[in-house]
């Protein structure tokens, strides 16, 4: 759906007309991110994170391709090849740290992006497809990140691979054969390392493809906005260029500043020291922990400590861990409220913030050792997580009384501005004329 007031692309020069008649790429760009794509004028900074996610993906792909020129995916030399990059390859230390830090930053961005979607109801009709594609991207990211972490072949690489592939053996009957099929062996070794390298190189391009679909699906209804109300008229929107190209440019600058601070001054801040020890299948590290972005899911996995209803505890944990992400696919149909934005859903808003705190607690539990009191806290936090999405949301979305919605985006912008403005309306640049 393109808004009727969207500026049409009009090639002016002979050259642009020639191109337009043969491969209308400039037209596509104009209509997608140029002056021809209207976007709600009231987006806040939480809307920067989609573009930042695209930037993070590009940084990973470029740095990854360069690293692959020097990395060797064989058990005997993988660890040393990474150190060769750090010590001998020109600027190798920079490219390696950028890639490792980039992965963490990619997940920070994506979590903010997801929480934006959860709070403002961006997953609701007509944007369900964008949401589904997004959850798919998230799953691909997790697979890519997991395999990438195995590649340096340190202690955490090896033991993390051991534990994660071990999940599959929890599946009755076919679990163990599947696990050996995945590994190409009985334990992570050269076969696993080589295929993880191949797939780690491949998946980001699959992610890129799904991202293109995700953005295409977005451009059908256009962006959601903090009020959750649909765009009604031209003054609800501004053209993407220059308004959001400028805002995204600023967002990129701030992102890169934080990125540079970590890469250059604290590159090992989230690194596990154990991964600077070459993999040793005979010696398990004292605390096996995944990278921080997996901690909440690791907590959920370990929370199921008892067999229940005839299902072994280990299998409960594996199913729950996958279910905790899979339930996101169903969110547009679980949350039935016709009101999108949490700004107008007071009951939903309270539970949303409890969810945020709950996920932070789950994250902290994922890092902690599997002993009390962390176990009981993980269990209570996991109870809330599943209850929130599967029990609380369906009920809340049916019984809550939303706040009155503004008539239009413009009205909400005006109202916000009237609250801020003191006296002279002329100075604000926005004046309201009475209707003729």
């Amino acid at each position: 759906m393109s808004f009727p007031w969207a500026k049409h692309y009009e090639p002016k020069s002979d050259f642009t007309k020639w191109i337009d008649a043969r491969l209308p790429l400039p037209r596509l760009i104009h209509g997608a991110v140029g002056a021809g794509y209207p976007v709600p004028r009231n987006l806040n900074y939480f809307w920067n994170f989609g573009f930042l996610a695209g930037l993070a993906l590009m940084i990973q792909i470029v740095s990854g391709i360069v690293l692959a020129m020097h990395y060797a995916a064989n058990g005997g030399v993988a660890f040393d090849s990474v150190e060769h990059i750090m010590r001998d390859v020109n600027s190798g230390w920079f490219i390696r740290y950028a890639h490792a830090t980039g992965a963490s930053f990619f997940f920070i961005v994506i979590y903010v992006h997801i929480f934006r979607g959860l709070y403002f109801g961006s997953y609701k009709a007509p944007r369900e497809m964008i949401w589904l594609l997004g959850v798919l991207i998230f799953l691909l990211m997790m697979a890519t990140a997991f395999m990438g972490y195995v590649l340096p072949w340190g202690q955490m690489s090896f033991w993390g691979a051991r534990v994660i592939t071990g999940f599959f053996s929890a599946i009755p009957l076919v679990g163990e054969p599947i696990r050996q099929w995945l590994l190409g062996g009985f334990a992570p070794d050269d076969a696993a390392l080589n295929r993880f390298f191949s797939l780690h190189y491949l998946l980001p391009f699959a992610i890129l493809g799904v991202v293109i679909l995700h953005v295409w699906a977005l451009h059908i209804p256009g962006s959601n906005n903090p009020t959750g109300i649909d765009v009604k008229e031209e003054q609800d929107t501004v053209p993407f260029h220059p308004y959001y190209t400028a805002k995204d440019g600023f967002g990129v600058a701030v992102y890169l500043t934080f990125f540079a601070i970590v890469v250059f001054f604290m590159p090992n801040i989230v690194a596990s020291p154990d991964n600077y020890i070459p993999a040793n299948p005979m010696s398990t590290p004292a605390h096996i922990e995944p990278e921080w972005y997996f901690w909440p899911f690791y907590a959920i996995l370990r929370a199921f400590t008892a067999n229940a209803f005839g299902v072994p505890a280990k299998l409960w944990g594996v199913i729950a861990m996958f279910a905790s992400i899979a339930l996101l696919f169903f969110l547009p149909w679980i949350d039935t409220s016709p009101v999108r934005s949490g700004n107008y859903r007071p009951l939903f808003k309270k539970f949303f913030w409890i969810l945020v705190v709950d996920i932070l607690i789950l994250g902290w539990m994922g890092k902690s050792p599997a002993e009390q009191p962390y176990v009981i806290i993980s269990q209570l936090a996991a109870i809330y997580y599943f209850a929130h999405f599967l029990i609380i949301l369906p009920i809340v979305s049916r019984i809550e009384r939303p706040l009155p919605l503004p008539m239009s985006i413009t009205e909400s912008v005006l109202a916000k501005h009237a609250a801020q403005v003191n006296t002279a309306p002329a100075l604000t640049g926005l004046s309201v004329q009475p209707a003729e």
Partner: protein, 280 residues
């Protein structure tokens, strides 16, 4: 009803978790972990202030050379530095001739093959060789050290929680078992193959105290070689072996962050200029 399906799934997980909590409550699974000797007597590393610390940290090459001397005379008899070559020592201030001399006189020679017979033998080291360590393989390393393999030192300050401070604390941390520990946990005292060191993860380390006395090493620059000093210097040296590009990283970082702060300001002003007058 569409509401029942998610609620049923949710109820299943919630009940499984509640069941886990209940069974734990009834089988003593709620108990906090027992106090162990390690929990009670393990010490966090003492603070170590090195010139390479902090965002503007730089190496003190004199100190690195002293640290190398400690490594050479005290540690290298058991510990390898396999990611470092003799030529890399140029980075701590030795010139080409000094590096060649260090390589040539190094006790552990490079394995090589005789040109004529193909027999495995050894040859003196040249600058492009690595500090491979005295043991030809892990088995030999363990056999010579009561089953405990002396770890490679190239990355030790990045491979241990606490980094250089941990190395410094460990090496100066050998002491007698506290009376309280002996009383509470009599089984936790070291056997005759181990030594008590509260900075070590499980309190009993297989390595005997490496720094036995002041003056164990005679520093070329005349600095008094107290145990404290030797420990600091070797920790500094090992910080360099783990991260030889630290100074490049800090310099590039300073330039990058300053550039980005200016760029962020310009980008912000550009954004404000674009949006000037447009309420949002």
């Amino acid at each position: 009803m569409r509401i029942l399906a998610p609620m049923a799934v949710g109820a299943a997980f919630v009940l499984a978790l509640l069941w886990a909590i209940i069974t734990a409550a009834f089988t003593g699974g709620m108990a906090l972990p027992e106090m162990t000797a390690t929990r009670m007597f393990h010490k966090e590393p003492r603070e170590l202030s090195l010139p390479s610390n902090g965002p503007f940290g730089k190496f003190d090459r004199q100190q690195l050379q002293r640290g190398f001397q400690v490594y050479k005379e005290v540690c290298s008899s058991c510990h390898s530095l396999r990611l470092v070559t003799f030529a890399d020592l140029r980075g701590i201030g030795y010139n080409e001739a000094e590096v060649k001399a260090i390589a040539k006189s190094w006790q552990v020679q490079q394995p090589s093959i005789s040109d004529k017979t193909g027999e495995v033998n050894s040859r003196p080291d040249i600058p492009s060789d690595h500090f491979y360590g005295p043991y030809p393989n892990e088995t030999a390393g363990r056999a010579a050290n009561n089953g405990a393999l002396p770890p490679d030192f190239s990355l030790i300050t990045k491979a241990r929680e606490g980094g250089a401070a941990y190395v410094y604390s460990l090496v100066t941390g050998y002491q007698d078992v506290p009376a309280e520990q002996r009383a509470k946990f009599p089984d936790s005292v070291p056997d005759n193959k181990h030594y008590y060191n509260p900075y070590f993860a499980n309190l009993n380390i297989a390595m005997p105290p490496p720094l036995k006395a002041d003056g164990q090493v005679t520093y070329k620059d005349g600095t008094p070689a107290t145990k404290e000093q030797m420990a600091k210097d070797v920790a500094a040296f090992l910080t360099w072996t783990a991260e030889p590009k630290l100074e490049n990283r800090h310099t590039a970082g300073l330039a990058a962050v300053i550039f980005l702060l200016i760029f962020s300001t310009l980008a912000y002003l550009s954004y404000r200029e674009v949006w000037h007058g447009k309420e949002h």
